[in-house]
Symmetry: C2
């Protein structure tokens, strides 16, 4: 049996009438009188197999359970018209099994892993991540995520952005805050990066257009459905912009490209997840914070004018209003109060009390944020002072800007949140293969309780 | 001036006779009598500009120093035959400058940043990483590294490997050892991953073929030229192998593809670095550890037969011998003593005292390692016991293997070491944009001393 070349399950339909060898896992065994039916799967898909009463494989077939690994020889048969199932892959063929070799056995499953029977609460799903990852639903989630990440890189490269590796261990916390993890670094203190922001700006001063796909870490001491401690951050930074709207436009094209790629490459996964991609219109509506607040007041009667930011209720309301008015699921909001944002965000020269930072909202929450940055060394030093920062802690960053930096900006977003939002999942842990939070690293931590709710 | 479309410097040669706008940095200004010459650079390359005595831009030109950011209008002129320099980009054209706008000023440089004048020791280079990254030599190193990493992903995808994100924070150290960084995780202990090994094996059991590009961390308390604490690890794992040689072959194809891509996409960078790619022959020589030791004994007289591993001197000797015998710069060594390697490495069934782990050596050092893994649950449990490990610490890993895993293997290598070796650099810090070691995270740590030597 080892001599025959393996055929991937996705290619079986082209081999009607031929004898083939497949290798994969048994998803389900169903005994029907003297026949045994199997659903086999490999990395490329699933197919139904049947062991007829006279088959030499019948005895072996009887001892095979779910998740056994098998090498199966058989003949690819067209199904009779009445047995064709157009809803599933290979629904028009069947493998008539002539031989089965068990490559590896499996213990009895602790719960139902069948396509329709799978129904675990998230805690159990995570407790058994090593097994549940085999389910088509979970595979769909992470295939979509892989396409999101890879499409980001593909689009960036097409726009001449240079990929760099941002560091995870940092010497100091530029923006301070308690939400940072401390590392015991040879008996000195170091920290896990919260964002590659300052590094991407440094590298931009040398390479003009840069991007990175790297881990960032947030010591969020709260267990919500949106927070995990280790995130895949997709970051971009570009020089020689004329205005912050160049950054907006680049980020819009990036999201559009990603959505297009997901639509094309993940049609099957979207179907499995029963997910509808959000609508991005030709030109995504863009409002200043003031305009957004006025609109919310007009439409809902809730007076949020003068607030320093949009709260979650505002974000949901704004997205609904924009969707109704323009059919766009997306909306950009820019022009936040300068002092509410970090020191590197560029103030509007005509009204320095607001800045040229922006957020992209979709389906009620923020997907991406960015904007223009301060590029003049003197202005940066002024900001460092105004923001009460210690310039020594960012001396490498400041050195980059000492030597000539053009107008520039950038944006960032998290791969897990985008995956969650695209697939309309309820908890970001579903969109994270090995989620870490204050209560869990793979297993629950001692003394920990529940998941985000 | 803002109205004209920017032309990238690499595209100037196609615009002979035209008036263009470029934007970029001044690398060098040279005054020659009443004329001023500039080397301008942008993300795409360099070009010489000249400001003639009658030019309206002359006054501005005189105040511009190195690293000023400028928008320059001018006419692209062919150089007279005698001034053509075929050795450099745009050596046959010159930009006759008609207007210069200063977009950002630069402080005077702390050292010579010109192409030929740049000559810093590594400590100074790292102390000023934010500035030195602008030098073509450093840019070449990181462009080669970006191509190595991207080519790895490209080849993996072409072979149907699925990309996943391996976690950085881990709950326990499976393989123990002091060389692990501890994280203060909400007042509990967590650790930075030393390798995605167990995670990639878990994900392989669900996706069959998987790869990851992720950071790993080694708390090496030694400052050598080869050790840094934060590394970009390129990892692959594949199921349904027939033998460990399938893993060897896949790793060989991967390295071959990467070298081909570097040769094609980085010809200019290799020239700048004066680097010669290593030679990979049609079939890379493969020796068992015993065969390698015999060969070293035969050729050098040094008797290393019976040693449990190759030491650095052995690795250098073996590479030299193989190079001489076969012209291959690469050699695989397999079959190490079983107990010298981790618990997951597969013992040779015919002689369980040696295993089916392998290393790929090149130019005297290890580039990559991998091999076949134990895939049977029962054998894994036996190994866990023999290796004196706590099964509770790897329960997620063990669960994956409880439910049917085919014969499998994989390999891994570090992006920085491969960059260093391809470019024949002397210190791995040169091949790391923001190197971390026991003495440095961006800046030198308090009380720290020297670099690796």
């Amino acid at each position: 049996m080892g001599r025959m070349q393996r055929t991937l399950i996705k290619d079986l339909a082209q081999k009607s009438g031929e004898t083939v060898l497949i290798k994969g896992w048994v998803s389900v065994r169903r005994d029907q009188g003297k026949m045994v039916f199997f659903d086999f799967r490999d990395m490329s898909g699933s197919v139904q197999g049947v062991v007829l009463p006279q088959s030499a494989a019948l005895e072996t077939a009887k001892e095979i359970r779910s998740e056994f690994v098998v090498a199966v020889t058989g003949v690819v048969n067209k199904r009779p018209e009445k047995n064709i199932n157009t809803e599933v892959q290979n629904g028009d063929i069947e493998l008539e099994v002539t031989g089965i070799e068990i490559l590896a056995k499996a213990e009895p499953l602790p719960f139902d892993m069948s396509i329709d029977g799978y129904n675990l609460d998230l805690t159990t799903e995570l407790d058994h991540r090593a097994l549940t990852l085999r389910h088509p639903r979970l595979q769909s989630i992470f295939k979509v995520q892989a396409v999101i990440i890879d499409s980001f890189r593909e689009f960036m490269k097409s726009q001449s952005f240079f990929e760099f590796q941002a560091p995870a261990i940092t010497p100091a916390t530029a923006e301070g805050g308690a939400e940072v993890f401390e590392v015991n670094y040879f008996d000195k203190k170091a920290y896990l990066t919260q964002s590659p922001q300052l590094y991407k700006q440094i590298v931009m001063t040398a390479f003009e257009r840069v991007f990175s796909v790297n881990k960032v870490f947030r010591a969020e001491p709260s267990a919500t459905t949106r927070h995990i401690t280790e995130i895949v951050s997709l970051d971009a930074e570009m020089a020689f912009i004329d205005s912050w709207t160049d950054v907006r436009d680049m980020s819009e094209q990036t999201v559009r490209f990603i959505l297009d790629q997901v639509a094309t490459k993940c049609a099957n996964e979207l179907k499995i997840m029963n997910a509808t991609l959000p609508t991005m219109t030709d030109k995504t509506p863009t409002l200043s914070l003031k305009e957004a607040q006025n609109k919310i007041f007009e439409k809902t009667g809730r007076d949020v004018r003068g607030e320093k930011d949009l709260n979650p209720e505002d974000e949901r309301a704004l997205c609904e209003i924009i969707k109704e008015e323009t059919s766009s699921d997306f909306v950009y909001v820019y022009g936040y109060p300068t002092k509410m944002k970090p020191f590197y965000v560029y103030p509007n020269p005509e009204d320095p009390s607001v800045n040229e930072g922006m957020d992209l909202l979709c389906r009620g929450i923020e997907w991406l944020s960015g904007g223009r940055r301060v590029n003049e060394y003197k202005q940066l030093l002024e900001h460092v002072e105004k923001w009460n920062m210690d310039p020594k802690k960012i001396d490498m960053f400041l050195e980059a800007f000492k030597y000539g930096v053009p107008p520039e900006g950038g944006f960032a977003f998290g791969a897990e949140r985008m995956t969650m939002q695209i697939l309309e999942l309820k908890n970001i842990r579903e969109a994270t293969m090995f989620p870490r939070d204050m209560h869990r690293i793979d297993s629950k931590l001692a003394g920990s309780e529940d998941l985000g709710s």
